[in-house]
């Protein structure tokens, strides 16, 4: 009959996660959708926001509830392994959400809209500053236009020399897949090869 030791009768499935970050409207959701085997799903997190100043619209004036949406997609790698892609909310005031999303991720892609470089600076800065997970920069060439070279982008956004910068089309599945492969290769080349912990 049934056993309580479910580790023995449930085939072990595992999952892993890649974060898709970037500035507002850079193409994060588009990338998630183009590589995902399911239509991008939106899920919501509810949080309190300490109200600043005199907010008299609320019964509890200290706190305001905010709903933050984020979207995700899925790739079934094989029978046991599922890879999820999570897009961060664009607005940078939701930084703490980035922390929650980044925790436990194998890596991140910072999607850059090449026409609005400045909008990507904070996202790059987040990963350069925290250095918890490997990240790469993916320049979304809107309508085939690419106005800067990778070197110019690296200099403008202060991207470390070792971080790969690729260009791609967020709407194209194969192009998006190449971005994910680049990130995984980079993460593996960067991985802790039995390095001492500390």
């Amino acid at each position: 009959m049934v056993s309580n030791d479910f580790s023995s009768d449930i085939p072990t499935k595992m999952s892993t996660k890649i974060v898709i970050a970037g500035g507002f409207g850079a193409g994060k959701t588009t990338l998630v959708g183009s590589v995902s085997e399911i239509p991008a799903v939106t899920t919501e997190a509810v949080m309190t926001e300490a109200s600043v100043g005199h907010d008299d619209t609320s019964a509890t004036p200290q706190k305001v509830t905010t709903t933050v949406a984020m979207d995700f997609g899925r790739i079934t790698v094989d029978q046991q392994l599922i890879l999820y892609m999570f897009g961060t909310p664009g607005q940078t005031r939701f930084w703490f959400m980035w922390d929650d999303l980044v925790r436990g991720a194998v890596g991140a892609v910072v999607v850059v809209d090449c026409r609005r470089l400045a909008d990507s600076f904070e996202a790059v800065d987040y990963f350069e500053t925290n250095r918890r997970i490997p990240y790469i920069v993916a320049m979304n060439r809107f309508d085939g236009r690419l106005e800067y070279t990778a070197d110019q982008i690296r200099e403008a956004l202060e991207v470390s020399a070792s971080v790969p910068i690729v260009d791609f089309d967020a709407r194209d599945r194969s192009s998006g897949g190449t971005v994910l492969k680049t990130l995984l290769r980079y993460a593996l080349s960067n991985s802790p090869v039995a390095a001492p912990v500390g």
């Binding site: 999952s15 899920t43 899925r74 929650d100 436990g104």
Partner: protein, 119 residues
């Protein structure tokens, strides 16, 4: 597993794991969960929301998918799943973070999978 320090932000989440996740296995948005014994009904004593989660998890899915499909906010979903896991009703699958060298072969498998899927 270390919890990173949050950036100084005036917005504070009361959802997400918020310290209430007592389970030894990390319960992240991508973590897969399944009902420990899919052939049994949800115990009647469970809250309706937990019963819905229990039934949905007869097929393995991620915390984020449970949240999206049942339209329960992520943080609440995490807390309810954590409680179900404590009761031994839900199994929490391993999450590969790439933080330890032993996980490299899984990441290599992921890369090979992507190479096959996106040629």
């Amino acid at each position: 597993m270390s919890y990173r320090k949050r950036r100084g932000s005036r917005i504070r989440p009361y959802t997400f794991t918020g310290g209430r996740t007592r389970s030894r296995h990390p319960l992240m948005v991508q973590t897969l969960v399944s009902t420990a014994d899919p052939s049994t009904d949800a115990p009647a004593k469970l809250m309706p929301e937990s019963q819905r989660i229990y039934r949905l998890c007869r097929e393995t899915r991620s915390v984020a998918e449970v949240s999206a499909e049942l339209k329960i906010p992520l943080g609440v979903t995490q807390v309810l799943l954590s409680d179900l896991a404590e009761l031994g009703l839900v199994y929490i699958h391993p999450t590969i973070t790439g933080n330890s060298p032993s996980e490299n072969q899984v990441l290599e498998r992921a890369l090979r999978g992507l190479e096959r899927l996106f040629q």
